[in-house]
């Protein structure tokens, strides 16, 4: 019996109660994995600001809440239904999860090119567990953080995207998570596995949206396997309710000559934490990490990126921008680790930040650890404000101050949005970004 008065004890008890109903309970390897994960969590508990990785992000508000770990039996749907929350532009193929379960009416994964499979995680656990046994936890080890451990213990929804060798999956795959139950405060633990075979190409978009005022926790783990010469684009659009918590770990492992492009935007949530890790342990692998974070009101957003240059002749590029207004708080920690044998590494990192108010705050920390001598590495981090001269110029042309501020704010974010390689996605995501920027409404045409 655990100590139910601590958070770790609460989760351990909940696990004991919930375990038999979790997907794959009859599979010994999965049972063991979950058990190992909850034990690891029980030992570690939630991180505190004393942990180097959580210095600026205090997860005590998450620890304090007693989130429900399963769906309530009845389901009340908020006004407009969950369909109203599926972002426009999420065309087929898409897999939509409402309150932690696949919604078949809103999903469409029928007309897929041959060699492309997009399946519900629980379905794969039931019917193709061998595939998962070889992969789950191999890229993101359960015990990596307290949150990845919780995800491994409780994962009960999510998606598995598989692309056969030398196959181009074509249109981007949309994974939409509509979260937040109006009835109770829930924790969701989606697991996403993306596996691109040798020479394959695929783009996957993760959307997280939530009902207004809903209090919940998204605790997401995404594992990406990019085989030799394959190319994966991963987009993440975090628009959780501003009363919710969002924690996500994404990790990609690249084979020789593989490429990975991560593009992430964090707009919603009261507190959001994104860990993005890429391991380049085979030659000629390339990755680019682009991102934008926006913290308004009392929002707190934290990006921790980490690129491990293990093999020689790999390349990484990183371009992140942050905007904080109100009492918003942004954190960027970009680590690039060049291992001793990783000669001819090329690694470049840029992080630019914009403060819109006196009470907003952004902490940026580039962290380059270079242990090889024949490398090209650079980094730059800046924090600035809107330019008064630009503002004046716009206003002398009759543009009201608030609109002018909105234009300049979007102008700051624009080049990150333009790093989205696909025009239709750029439009969908650009619209979402605009909707979350102060003064962004009424600037619709700026996207054209």
């Amino acid at each position: 019996m655990s100590n139910a008065s601590t958070a770790a004890g609460r989760y351990a008890d909940a696990f004991d109660a919930r375990a038999p109903a979790l997907p794959g309970h009859r599979l010994a390897w999965l049972r063991d994995m979950r058990r190992g994960a909850i034990d690891a969590f029980s030992r570690s508990g939630f991180p505190t600001p004393r942990h180097e990785h959580w210095k600026y992000t205090n997860v005590a508000p998450i620890e304090k809440r007693a989130f429900e770990l399963e769906a309530p039996s009845s389901r009340i749907t908020p006004a407009g239904g969950p369909g109203a929350h599926v972002p426009k532009g999420c065309a087929s193929p898409c897999l939509v999860f409402v309150d932690g379960r696949v919604d078949h009416d809103l999903s469409d994964v029928r007309a897929l090119p041959s060699g492309v499979r997009i399946e519900d995680f629980t379905h794969v656990v039931e019917h193709d567990s061998g595939f998962l046994e070889d992969r789950l936890g191999r890229i993101v080890p359960a015990e990596r953080t307290a949150f990845t451990a919780l995800n491994a213990a409780f994962m009960d929804a999510g998606a598995v995207v598989r692309v056969a060798p030398n196959t181009d999956a074509g249109a981007p795959v949309h994974l939409v998570f509509v979260c937040g139950s109006p009835e109770c405060e829930r924790a969701y633990h989606p697991r996403i596995v993306i596996a691109a075979g040798a020479g394959a190409r695929v783009a996957v978009v993760e959307h997280f949206v939530g009902y207004d005022d809903a209090v919940y926790l998204d605790n997401v783990v995404t594992e990406v396997e990019v085989a030799e010469g394959a190319a994966v684009e991963h987009y993440k659009v975090q628009r959780a309710s501003t009363t919710a918590y969002h924690v996500a770990a994404l990790q990609a492992k690249l084979a020789a000559g593989a490429s990975f492009h991560s593009w992430a935007v964090s707009l919603g949530a009261r507190l959001a934490r994104h860990d993005i890790d890429v391991t380049l342990d085979h030659e000629h692998a390339r990755c680019s990490l682009d991102g934008l974070y926006v913290a308004n009101g009392r929002q707190h957003v934290d990006f921790h990126t980490n690129v491990e240059h293990v093999a020689p002749q790999c390349e990484s590029r990183e371009y992140y921008k942050g905007i904080a207004g109100g009492r918003g708080r942004g954190v960027f920690n970009g680590r690039v680790h060049v291992h001793p044998h990783a000669q001819k590494t090329e690694a470049h990192q840029t992080n630019r930040n914009l403060l819109l108010s006196r009470n907003a705050e952004i902490d940026t920390k580039p962290q380059l650890e270079i242990h090889a001598d024949d490398v090209k590495c650079s980094h730059g981090a800046t924090i600035g404000q809107l330019d008064e001269q630009m503002l004046f110029y716009l206003r002398t042309r009759g543009i009201p101050e608030s609109t002018a501020r909105g234009m300049l704010t979007y102008g700051f974010a624009r080049d990150v949005v333009e790093r989205i390689n696909r025009p239709d996605l750029r439009e969908t995501i650009g619209t979402a970004v605009l909707a979350h920027l102060p003064g962004g409404d009424g600037l619709r045409e700026i996207l054209e």
Binding site: D387, Q389, F392, T396, G398, I399, E401, L408, G411
Partner: protein, 252 residues
């Protein structure tokens, strides 16, 4: 149109204008000349409503109403336009989008319907021709990567689109080649009418060959030191400013 009385302006505690008077009637073109640092751009910025310039005395009336109480965007809507000496580059804000937002802000204020994309394009094409501006500049960020001359043409292009009542051109002629100078003059002259007035801040006679002013003023020592007709500009060109300073000193 514009009535400036005993205007006193300080920047960072330093007095720049110390009692400037200027009266511009509707339909008139006034040239303001004067040595570097005499306060010409300061005057232009104060008229447009730039923060950081402290008006310590005097008043500015535009069509009988005080300009000093208005925000920069309100002045623009009222019909005041400043073509900047150094137009600022605004990366990330598309020039077409910016121009349309500006034109429609003014139209809204005037109670006119907003222009849609098609109507706006028609208007833009018409005005572009006059200024020989390349259409590709419209697709870039505002002034981003524009040459010095292109920036100045873009200012006059905006002037043509916004059709203000009072245009203030701060050294729009500086750095222009001969063809550009003619285009700019053409753009300004096209707007001349009995209802519109223009203030040209310039160092050179050559602009005034194309836009003939009704009055020429020399700003020196924080006020208008000398005023005259268009012949004053030619006199300055040959004699320089020293005699103005001397006369002003003798007069004071």
């Amino acid at each position: 149109m514009l009535e400036i009385r005993d205007l006193r302006v300080a920047v960072d505690g330093k007095d720049i204008l110390i009692g400037l008077d200027l009266h511009v009637a509707p339909g008139e073109v006034h040239a303001i000349m004067g040595p570097n640092g005499s306060g010409k751009s300061t005057l232009a910025h104060v008229l447009a409503g730039r923060e950081g310039y402290e008006v310590t005395g005097g008043e500015i009336l535009f069509e009988g109403h005080s300009l000093l109480d208005l925000e920069p965007e309100e002045r623009a809507c009222a019909g005041v336009f400043l073509a900047f000496q150094y137009p600022v580059e605004i990366p990330g804000v598309n020039n077409t989008y910016f121009l349309k937002a500006a034109v429609n802000a003014i139209r809204r204020h005037r109670g006119q319907s907003e222009l849609d994309a098609m109507d706006f394009l028609t208007l833009v094409r018409e005005k572009l021709g006059v200024l020989h501006l390349d259409e590709s500049l419209l697709r870039r960020g505002v002034n981003v990567g524009f040459s010095g001359g292109e920036k100045k043409r873009n200012e006059i292009f905006q002037l043509a689109l916004m059709e203000p009542k009072l245009a203030i051109l701060d050294e729009t002629d500086s750095g222009l080649d001969i063809d550009a100078l003619k285009d700019v003059a053409h753009g300004v002259n096209a707007l001349r009418s009995p209802e519109r007035s223009t203030i040209l801040v310039t160092h050179y006679q050559r602009l005034l060959d194309h836009i003939v002013p009704d009055r020429v003023h020399v700003l020196s020592g924080g006020r208008i030191a000398v005023s005259g007709g268009s012949e004053l500009a030619r006199e300055l060109e040959s004699r320089g400013y020293d005699w103005v300073r001397e006369e002003a000193a003798a007069g004071a």
